[in-house]
């Protein structure tokens, strides 16, 4: 497998002007701006093989977008090595740019006042896509994303979900080998998110393109990627298969019990933390290792109609990852 993305000891520092609140402070900042150094990425290293679909997660301000911007050549790294497809992204070699695409959920490239098909035509010219390839790509993307009826409508009249799907078409017409997606489902309704997600998985399988996806929507990660990279405060916290992330951070399981008769709720406390009591439902959180024993005992000692053992909600797990921050390589 060819290594497509290589990042080694990447550091990115921003210098920002700070402004204190208040009128006089505002005037002072014009003459003597206070500069502050912010470390956005602190010694990040990872690599991605061809065809991989990697989820990049972290809270707001963790450095996800900064990394994608460096990978697509928009930001100049303070130090460290960055190589994609054998190119240094910052050089913005046209051969490189023809092989990548950056999709940002909060930014559009479609011309606002014109139908999307005009922007597609422009991209065809910019990326110098041969006519036949262009037609094939367009037909394929349009049917996958179900946007056939929207091509000739001025972009301003489209809904956010429709626009996002057309943005994807515009970004993929030139069949990029590497695709950076920054929050592609942000602001979309559940149905819109699902459509985009299904498309991304499908596209990755069909085209074999290497993809990095940032999101703080856990469903994106759960349903789309196998490998996750977690960063927090500019540091790499976890890099490995998704199930390993869950196993190493989800120490507890959630046991949901439906009682058939009233029982002494207090007695549940001996098994674990009682999370919720809403008769007939009782939810307790139990350490992973003892869950089998505990459920057997509960079945014996309580009038149980039904019992369910579930994983901790993903959000909780991720919260722990961000808080605890033990580095683990897989």
């Amino acid at each position: 497998m060819e290594r497509v993305i290589l990042i080694d000891k990447l550091v990115k520092e921003f210098v920002v002007n700070t402004k204190e609140p208040g009128f006089f402070a505002g005037i002072r900042s014009v003459f003597r701006p206070k500069k502050k150094r912010v470390l956005a990425l602190d010694n990040i290293s990872f690599s991605v093989d061809e065809g991989e679909l990697v989820g990049f997660i972290g809270p707001n301000g963790a450095g996800k977008t900064t990394t994608l911007k460096i990978l697509s050549g928009l930001l100049y790294p303070t130090s460290g090595l960055v190589q994609v497809l054998g190119f240094d992204p910052w050089e913005k070699n046209h051969k490189y740019l023809k092989n990548i695409s950056l999709v940002m959920g909060q930014k559009n490239q479609l011309w606002w006042d014109l139908p999307a098909v005009e922007t597609f035509e422009l991209n065809r010219a910019i990326y110098e896509i041969p006519n036949r390839d262009y037609k094939r790509s367009l037909d394929e993307l349009v049917s996958l994303l179900e946007v056939g009826g929207l091509l000739n409508v001025p972009v301003r009249r489209l809904s956010l979900g429709q626009r996002m799907r057309l943005e994807l078409v515009a970004s993929l017409l030139h069949r990029p080998r590497v695709l950076f997606l920054d929050e592609p489902t942000i602001g979309l309704d559940v149905l819109g998110q699902t459509k985009i997600r299904e498309f991304l998985v499908d596209y990755n399988r069909r085209s074999g393109a290497t993809m990095i996806l940032t999101s703080h929507n856990m469903d994106d990660i759960l349903n789309v990627v196998k490998r996750v990279i977690v960063i927090n405060k500019g540091r790499l916290v976890f890099d490995g298969p998704f199930h390993l992330l869950v196993e190493s951070f989800a120490r507890k399981k959630v046991v949901k019990i439906y009682l058939s008769d009233s029982a002494d709720i207090k007695k549940f406390e001996q098994y674990g933390k009682v999370v919720k009591v809403d008769f007939p439902e009782v939810v307790i959180s139990v350490p992973r290792e003892t869950v089998a024993l505990t459920s057997a005992e509960i079945l014996q000692n309580f009038p149980v109609a039904d019992i369910n053992i579930e994983e901790e909600p993903l959000e909780e797990v991720i919260k722990k990852v961000f808080k605890g921050g033990k580095v683990k390589d897989a």
Binding site: F14, G73, K95, Q106, L114, E128
Partner: protein, 267 residues
């Protein structure tokens, strides 16, 4: 199809997406021509002597000429570049195999072609309506010199505008102020857009003639009006070419620094 031709086509289409806007803008232009025409017409009415070397015919040609030149030289889409930088839209261009300067120059040219087309129509119409005395240049070499200096002016303005817009890289919230100061005040004044520069003391005029702004409107028009000798014409073309090189050099340096400063933020 060549990529910049596609850009050109799309620019024209998008200008037409704002049809009503465009028509109103042209309407404003016509009104402006009429106002200026009647103002100078009444200043010179009743007396036929020259004021500052301008008689009625020449001042009216100057006024008309400035308006036409303005729609060629100063009409531009590249004024949006500052906004593109501060809103983070520049990102869309930096990640594509596309020359940013060439892209915007193409969009400028599209806008100029459209404006020029319309202003020719308007002027023809106005000419038949108010029959102003217009000076028609017939000397071949002068016309060639005029066309050359006009082309230089177009590129010069593009470079100046881009340089001013680059301020956004460092001060994204102050870009409009820089643009206003430069384009509306300094540029209009020093380029002769407000009044013919040669009504000022000649020492001042010759000082101005070493600034790039002089070559945007005033110089091409002076050439057309036949007010400069061949020698001065060549000298002017030489100085403006020199400015063109200097500004091009500065812009490519500043732009490189700016893109490095750019953090692709926004929205």
């Amino acid at each position: 199809m060549h990529k910049y031709f596609q850009v050109f086509k799309l620019s024209l289409i998008s200008e037409f997406a704002y049809r009503f806007n465009f028509i109103l803008w042209r309407f404003r232009n016509v009104i402006q021509i009429l106002v200026v025409f009647f103002f100078w017409n009444s200043v010179f009415s009743g007396q036929n002597e020259a004021v500052f070397g301008y008689n009625r015919e020449k001042i009216l040609t100057y006024v008309f000429g400035i308006l036409v030149l303005r729609s060629i030289v100063l009409s531009s889409r590249a004024v949006d570049v500052a906004g593109e930088i501060s809103s983070g839209n520049l990102t869309n261009f930096l990640i594509k195999p596309l020359g940013y300067f060439r892209y915007w120059f193409t969009r400028d040219v599209a806008s100029k072609v459209l404006n020029l087309g319309f202003s020719v129509l308007e002027i023809a119409l106005l000419y038949f309506l108010i029959k102003p005395p217009i000076y028609v240049q017939s000397d071949f070499l002068t016309i060639v010199g005029f066309l050359i200096s006009l082309s230089i002016a177009v590129v010069l303005f593009f470079l100046v505008l881009f340089l001013v817009n680059s301020v956004s890289f460092w001060m994204p919230e102050n870009a409009w102020a820089a643009q206003f100061l430069f384009i509306v005040i300094i540029l209009e004044f020093f380029s002769g857009g407000i009044f013919p520069l040669d009504v000022l003391p000649s020492s001042l005029v010759s000082l101005f003639s070493y600034l790039p702004f002089y070559y945007l409107l005033f110089f091409p028009l002076q050439v057309y009006l036949g007010k400069v000798s061949y020698i001065l014409m060549f000298k002017g073309i030489f100085i403006s070419l020199l400015w063109l090189l200097i500004l091009w050099f500065c812009l490519s340096k500043v732009w490189k620094m700016g893109v490095r400063e750019y953090s692709a933020e926004g929205r």
